[in-house]
Structure formats: structure tokens, C-alpha cells
């Protein structure tokens, strides 16, 4: 599904990713954990195609397609979805308007016709109900005045509607209380399928109690330094990242 080979990335002459290798298979939920500044968010932005990042070496393949040669919207059409750590506010643009514009844009790139309004509303209502979202929220401008938890739910709602094949969750648990964490996690779990892969980026084990990963990778100094099963997350929770910091010092 996703194959990253020897990825080297810098921003403003500062090297962030240092020969990163990672493979995520179809149907797999891969967690990436690591201390602050290890390059986790950079990795998610580079996969999604944010400007400002200079890729010096390596490649990112999604189902064999070279993502690095594609614009962000083309990558989205190819199936990449990034649930942002800090979702952006778009003043004056209703949430429904935004959802419809995004869904139709992706349908168009797949050569499908526009969604009819009744179908659209039906789909949104069904997905919003699962996330226990307040309908008034959908009437407001996108993310404007939303609480942290509401913003994260809006991200998962978009993920559910756009049906991407490769989902990146960037610190989705930050800013969530226990109830919101449960609802958001259930939303994600409902989307798990043999055809879809997830890259879950987090600092803490607690999210992984809800979204149980198949694999856990530890990121440090811009590369993956250790990989294992879900038990690796528990080990990190117990010991922290101190081991990795020391190994670097040594």
C-alpha cells in the first residue's frame, strides 16, 4: 500500500527526516510514536504534499504511484487523507458547503458525476449521527468557533465521507476529553477495513487503547528506530523515550 524509501527532507536548511523507511500494508493500522521534534508531523505533511518541505532524497509510493510528483489535491484523489492536528478555520464557508465541494471535487477526479443534494444530505446525516455530532455544528462556518473536540470530529466526519484508502491521523487525541476520545476512536474503528490502511501518529499510549494498532514504529531523529507489535506501545508508556535519547547521546 504505502512504501517510503530513504526519505530525506529539510525545511529552511534544517534536516527533519533522515533516511526514513516505512511500509504500511493494506488493512494495517500502523502507529508512529516518538518524542517531540522527532519529525512525526513533518512525515504526515510530506506524505500529503504540503509546500515548504524540500525532499532531498527518497520516494513515497502509494499503490505504486509516486506521490512526490503529485499536487496535494491529486494525492487526495489518489486516496490520501490527513486528519490535521490543528484543523484550519475557513470563515464564511458553511461546513456543508465545504463537505459538498470536497466530495464533488474527488468524484470529479474519478470521473463520476456530482452528488445529488438529497444523497449528500443523507450521507452526511448518517455519518454525523455515528460521531454523535450536533447538527447545528454543520450549519456553522467550517471549524470557526469549534471546540478542539468538535474540530477533531469534523476531521473524522470528512474522512468517513471521503472514503480515502490511506488515512493519516496526526495527534488526533490531542485536545480530546475521554468521551470525545471514545467517540472519535469508534469513528475511526468503524472505518477499518481490509482495503484501507491507517497511519496513527501519537505521543501517548492512551489513543492506542482505543484504536488498537497492528504495528508500532518508534520515530527518533528523523527515522524509524524501532518497530514492533502493539506491545511496543506499552513498553514505551512504561519507560518513556529516554532509551532512545541516550542511544543518540552515546
Amino acid at each position: 500500500m504505502l512504501e517510503i524509501k530513504n526519505l530525506v527532507v529539510q525545511i529552511e536548511d534544517k534536516r527533519i527526516l533522515n533516511g526514513l523507511n516505512l511500509t504500511v500494508n493494506k488493512g494495517e493500522v500502523a502507529a508512529i510514536m516518538g518524542p517531540n521534534g522527532s519529525g512525526k508531523s513533518t512525515l504526515s505533511y510530506v506524505i500529503a504534499g504540503k509546500e515548504d518541505y524540500e525532499v532531498l532524497d527518497g520516494e513515497i509510493l502509494l499503490d505504486g504511484q509516486n506521490l512526490l510528483e503529485m499536487e496535494p489535491d491529486q494525492r487526495a484523489a489518489a486516496g490520501v487523507f490527513l486528519a490535521f492536528q490543528y484543523p484550519l478555520e475557513i470563515p464564511g464557508v458553511g461546513s456543508m458547503t465545504f463537505l459538498k465541494a470536497a466530495m464533488n471535487a474527488q468524484r470529479k477526479s474519478r470521473g463520476e458525476g456530482e452528488l445529488s443534494t438529497p444523497d449528500f444530505i443523507k450521507q452526511v446525516n448518517a455519518a454525523a449521527a455515528k460521531l454523535e455530532m450536533n447538527k447545528d455544528m454543520l450549519k456553522r462556518a467550517l471549524n470557526v468557533g469549534f471546540s478542539g473536540g468538535e474540530k477533531k470530529r469534523m476531521e473524522i466526519l470528512q474522512m468517513a465521507l471521503l472514503q480515502p484508502s490511506f488515512c493519516i491521523l496526526d495527534e488526533t487525541d490531542s485536545g480530546l476529553d475521554i468521551d470525545a476520545l471514545r467517540i472519535v476512536s469508534e469513528g475511526v474503528n468503524a472505518l477499518r477495513s481490509p482495503d484501507r490502511a491507517f497511519l496513527v501518529i501519537t505521543h501517548y499510549q492512551r489513543l492506542l487503547n482505543h484504536i488498537v494498532p497492528d504495528t508500532v514504529h518508534v520515530m527518533h531523529g528523523g527515522r524509524i528506530v524501532r518497530s514492533g507489535g502493539k506491545e511496543l506501545a506499552l513498553e514505551l508508556e512504561a519507560n518513556g523515550y529516554a532509551d532512545y535519547r541516550e542511544s543518540e547521546a552515546a
Binding site: 509546500e51 499536487e71 489535491d73 487523507f81 484543523p87 484550519l88 464557508v93 465541494a101 470536497a102
Partner: protein, 490 residues
């Protein structure tokens, strides 16, 4: 939002050339001698078959104008205008005063059709879809070429006709109101207009009548080296209501053309006038060659108690815009509103805003201005809110937002606030923002192209104002804004 999709399609269908109204119509024209003199004014007045008092009015204005100097306080710069290098009158040779559409030169009808204003269909559709009918007055250079729905409006007692016709047919009404809101001596451009104005619309709504349809005037400058000096006068008598829309376009030309219009609105007791403008004069090319100089004086007088005047404008065209649609809130409890979207791209210069002059008691006003600057353009909001000594309880709310696209453009806000009354409450809010790269990335991550993302964000920014426009025009305006900003990102 289907309009976004339409916008994108529209933008794509336009190649290199973004201004789709830039074509020229081949019709034989009759023109006045070039330049300005008493003789030229006599020529215009005679062409219009005007009574002596009107000619005298023009000549007085001309004498006054000769003593005036061009204003220089606006934040715009341009080469000196040679007022003797302009034709002040140009009319299609064939039948300059047609009685019905059948007499109109087919080339001209085709022009309006190309512009999306099918005058013929407007009449044919009459009665089929009554709630969407719009009566249109089409002005081609210096003359009105067609006015639709005249008879039906007349049944309601509404007068809607070219002002040159009204001067002949309703001299008393015209005499009573012309120049009472924008005096002949008001300012350099208004005085020039008073001397040489050629055509424009005249509207009178009798007491208690709610005008049965939208009224619209479509202005087209076609002829080279021609100025357009239209004059519009709208009177809403006691308890009446009218909604009026004007649209404007011009062919692409390398030289600049002058447009100096005067619009006067008068609302008597309990009357309401809604005046909407979609201004899309040719803005000039990317290097700033050509384009219309748009120096316009628009003013409404809320003369009666409880009267309301609303200005809504979507300004995307012109090389230079100098325009401040204003309200004189004379009647007690009267209300003035100004909603504006001013888009500038390329080398365009916009200095626009409003004046709300509170004279009566408990008068209220509201100003919502959205400026969008892209390319190397300069976009200035200039507004005055003032309260007279007797204007107890005056209230104003002003909100000016500017959006910058790219980093070579400028947005400026110049508010003037004067209060001579301690009970007046004036509020002013202003923001300047840029479309952030993060917002763009977020939209693109969801599958929207760069153009779609820009259109969506800009439409969100101007939403409050678009809502004020009649439905069909709001969609049109939304498209226009996106087209104007084509190529401004990246």
C-alpha cells in the same frame, strides 16, 4: 455549492484573455465634434430635443466646471486626462430613438445577448415566470437603446424610461428633483456630468406602490475615445418600494476611457430604495494599459421619515475606481446601508467607500465593506460617518475587512468619523488578512484544486455582502469575482 463548480468551469473556459466582455460592436455611429465647448453642449441638448431650461442648466454647469480643478486626494495615480480629447456624444446612426425593440439595430441586440442580457426574451417571457422578471433599460454609449416592460410598469404607475425621454415627457418631475441630491456644483466630475450627461435611467414610483419587478439598467461603452456620462434619477414617493440594478461593461482598448456618472436617489416618507451595482468595466491589461477611469458620484437622500436606502456594490472592473455611494439621512428614523465588495487585480486602483451623513433623529446606518486585493493592485476603503448636532440617537456600525492575495498588492482603510452629538453611537471594526497557505493546503488536501480552493475561501469572505444581492445577481457576482481573481494565486 454548485456556484463554485460553475465558477471554475467559467474560469477554465476563459483562456489567456480573462475579460470576456472585451469585444467590439460594429455599428455606424454619430458623434459630436471631439472635445468640450458650449457648442458641443448645445449639440447634445439639441440631439436630445431638450427644452431650453435643460440647456441652460447644462451651460451653467459647464461655466462652473471651467473654474474647478480635478480632485487629487484619492489614493490613485494616473496620467492627466485631456478633456478635449474625448467625444462627449456617440449614438448608433440608425434610429437613435427606437420606439420598440423591432427598430433596434440587430447588431446592438446581439451585443446585449452576448453580454447575457437577452432583451427580446425578456419581453417574450413576460408572464411565464412572473416572479423572476426584470425590466431592463439598455444604454449604448450615449443613448438608451431599449427599455423593456414599459407598458406593464406604466399600469402600476411606475415610470421607468431613459432620462432624456423623461426630460421631455415629465419635465416637472425632473425639474423638481434633478440636482437636489448631487448639486450641479458638487464636485469636479459631477459638474462635468451635469454639463454633458447623455443618458441614463429615470424612475418614479408613486405613493404606496411596490414596484412589481426588479428594474435594471445595463451600460455599455462601445465607441473609441468616448466618455460615458450617464445620469440616473430615482424617486420613491411616500410608502413605495423599488429594487434597481445596474451593470456595466466595455470593450478592451489600449487607451483609457472616462466614465463619470451621477446617480441621485430620493426616498420620501416610509419609502425604500435598494440600489445594486455589478460594475465590470474593462480593467486594463496586466501592464496597466487601457481600462476605464470610473469617477462616479452616487448619493441617496433619505428625505422622508422612516425611509431606507441600501447601496450594494460588486466592483471588479475599471482601471481606476473613485466612487463613494452615500446616504444623507435627513428624515427622522431613516436608515442607510452600504454593502460593498471591491476586487482589484493586475494594476487596478480602487478608492471607494461611502458617506453616511446623519441629520435626522434616531437615524441608523450600516457599512459592510469587503476589499480583495490581488496582483499589484491597490485597494482603499475611504468612508465618512458623521452626526449633525440635531441627530440625536444616531447609530452607525461599520465593518471593513480586507483580504490580500499575494504580496505585491496593498489594502488601505481610511475612515473619517465626525460626531457633533453626544448621543451618537458609532462603531468601527476593521481587519486585514491574507489567504493563508495553510488554509489553501487544507482545502487541497480534501481534493479541491488551487483555483477551487481560492474561489471557496474568497466566496466565504464576501458572503455577508453577496447575501444582499438579488438571487440571480448574487450567482453572477460570485462568478465574476472568481474570474477577476483568476491567475492571482501561486
Amino acid at each position: 455549492m454548485p456556484a463554485v463548480q460553475e465558477t471554475i468551469d467559467q474560469v477554465r473556459s476563459i483562456d489567456v484573455d480573462q475579460y470576456k466582455y472585451g469585444f467590439e460592436t460594429e455599428v455606424e455611429m454619430e458623434k459630436s465634434p471631439k472635445g468640450l465647448s458650449e457648442d458641443v453642449i448645445r449639440f447634445i441638448s439639441a440631439k436630445k430635443g431638450e427644452p431650453e431650461w435643460m440647456l441652460q442648466w447644462r451651460l451653467d454647469a459647464y461655466k462652473r466646471w471651467l473654474t474647478m480643478t480635478e480632485p487629487s486626494w484619492a489614493r490613485v495615480s494616473y496620467d492627466k486626462i485631456d478633456y478635449n480629447d474625448i467625444y462627449y456624444y456617440a449614438a448608433p446612426k440608425k434610429n437613435p430613438a427606437p420606439k420598440s425593440l423591432d427598430e433596434v439595430d440587430p447588431e446592438i441586440l446581439k451585443t446585449y445577448e452576448k453580454l447575457g442580457i437577452p432583451l427580446r426574451e425578456q419581453e417574450i417571457l413576460a408572464g411565464v415566470e412572473p416572479e423572476r422578471r426584470v425590466a431592463v433599460d439598455a444604454v449604448f454609449d450615449s443613448v438608451s437603446v431599449a427599455t423593456t416592460f414599459k407598458e406593464e410598469l406604466a399600469k402600476a404607475g411606475v415610470i421607468f424610461m431613459p432620462i432624456s425621454e423623461a426630460i421631455r415627457e415629465y419635465p416637472d418631475l425632473v425639474k423638481q428633483y434633478l440636482g437636489t441630491v448631487v448639486p450641479v456644483t458638487d464636485n469636479f466630475f459631477a459638474t462635468l456630468n451635469s454639463a454633458v450627461f447623455t443618458d441614463g435611467s429615470f424612475v418614479y414610483i408613486p405613493p404606496g406602490v411596490r414596484c412589481p419587478m426588479e428594474l435594471s439598467t445595463y451600460f455599455r461603452i462601445n465607441e473609441k475615445n468616448t466618455g460615458q456620462f450617464e445620469r440616473t434619477l430615482i424617486i420613491a414617493d411616500k410608502g413605495s418600494y423599488v429594487s434597481y440594478l445596474e451593470g456595466c461593461t466595455a470593450p478592451k482598448r489600449d487607451e483609457n476611457q472616462l466614465h463619470a456618472a451621477v446617480v441621485e436617489l430620493i426616498a420620501l416618507d416610509d419609502a425604500e430604495i435598494k440600489y445594486s451595482t455589478v460594475q465590470n468595466w474593462y480593467p486594463g491589461d496586466a501592464e496597466g494599459r487601457g481600462g476605464i477611469y470610473n469617477f462616479v458620484t452616487k448619493r441617496g437622500d433619505c428625505r422622508g421619515k422612516n425611509s431606507v436606502i441600501t447601496w450594494t456594490q460588486v466592483e471588479t472592473g475599471s482601471a481606476i475606481t473613485w466612487k463613494y455611494p452615500s446616504c444623507i439621512l435627513r428624515g427622522d428614523n431613516s436608515r442607510g446601508e452600504f454593502y460593498s465588495i471591491a476586487v482589484s487585480n493586475g494594476m487596478q486602483q480602487v478608492d471607494s467607500g461611502t458617506k453616511m451623513i446623519h441629520l435626522g433623529k434616531n437615524t441608523t446606518s450600516r457599512i459592510i465593506s469587503k476589499g480583495i486585493a490581488a496582483g499589484k493592485s491597490e485597494n482603499t476603503y475611504r468612508g465618512l460617518v458623521s452626526a449633525h448636532r440635531k441627530a440625536t440617537g444616531a447609530r452607525n456600525f461599520t465593518n471593513c475587512d480586507s483580504l490580500l492575495i499575494g504580496n505585491q498588492c496593498g489594502a488601505h482603510t481610511v475612515p473619517y468619523i465626525e460626531s457633533k452629538n453626544a448621543t451618537a453611537v458609532f462603531e468601527h471594526e476593521a481587519t486585514t488578512s491574507k489567504i493563508s497557505e495553510d488554509q489553501m493546503f487544507y482545502c487541497q488536501q480534501r481534493g479541491l484544486s488551487e483555483e477551487e480552493a481560492t474561489a471557496l475561501i474568497v466566496n466565504g469572505f464576501v458572503k455577508d455582502v453577496l447575501q444582499q444581492l438579488p438571487m440571480e445577481f448574487a450567482v453572477e457576482a460570485q462568478k465574476l469575482i472568481s474570474i477577476s481573481l483568476e491567475g492571482s494565486v501561486g
